[in-house]
Symmetry: C2
Subunit: 120 residues, 2 copies
């Protein structure tokens, strides 16, 4: 107990409600330690993280699901690759390509992306 705060204490100092602290855990954004009997224990790192998260959400006007997705993006390399590929699809034609070549090239690129997607 000397090594951290309980959920209500953590709520007090971070501005999150106890309910939200539990919710943040279920969506995978924090992982407080537990005592032998199952009580959550919030250490200084957690408290800082929680305060920073508030700032971050407000400053950039985004939601928890956005941060959760960003986390998923870091963990799932295939997802990242698939999205990168999709975004990179460009609008201009590469130099020296005919319209027909371009279309073929573009379709093949998407074929490759689809193959990647199917593997997921």
């Amino acid at each position: 107990m000397t090594e951290g705060l309980t959920i209500n204490e953590a709520a007090e100092t971070t501005g999150w409600s106890p309910r939200m602290l539990r919710y943040l855990e279920t969506v995978g954004l924090i992982e407080p330690a537990r005592t032998g009997s199952g009580y959550r224990v919030f250490g200084p790192e957690h408290l800082q993280r929680l305060r920073t998260l508030r700032e971050l959400l407000e400053s950039f006007d985004c939601g928890l699901s956005d941060v959760a997705f960003a986390k998923r993006l870091r963990a799932d390399e295939q997802l990242r690759a698939a999205l990168d590929g999709w975004f990179e699809a460009r609008v201009e034609q590469p130099q020296g390509m005919s319209s027909a070549d371009w279309l073929t090239w573009e379709q093949e690129k998407h074929q490759r992306l689809l193959a990647l997607v199917d593997a997921a």
Copy 2:
């Protein structure tokens, strides 16, 4: 008109509804060209992109807002840096640091992150 499909034709060949094609544009995921009078024109690249997007959403079980956020993440370097910093917050102490040093170091890291966030 010979250079692309109208919205209903594009809907037909991509599986998206015309309504959704307009919605995808409002959330920034596609940018069809326009005729002089304002009609949307979907070229082959758009059609491929739209088909790939369907596959991508289904394969990875994610939503449009997720893809939109991923796009924002690519465009907004500060947002990316802030999230990277937040995720990198580690749980173990660096070697050779006392508990007190670690806490100070950790707090300072978050101070730096907060400064970044404030600048946004």
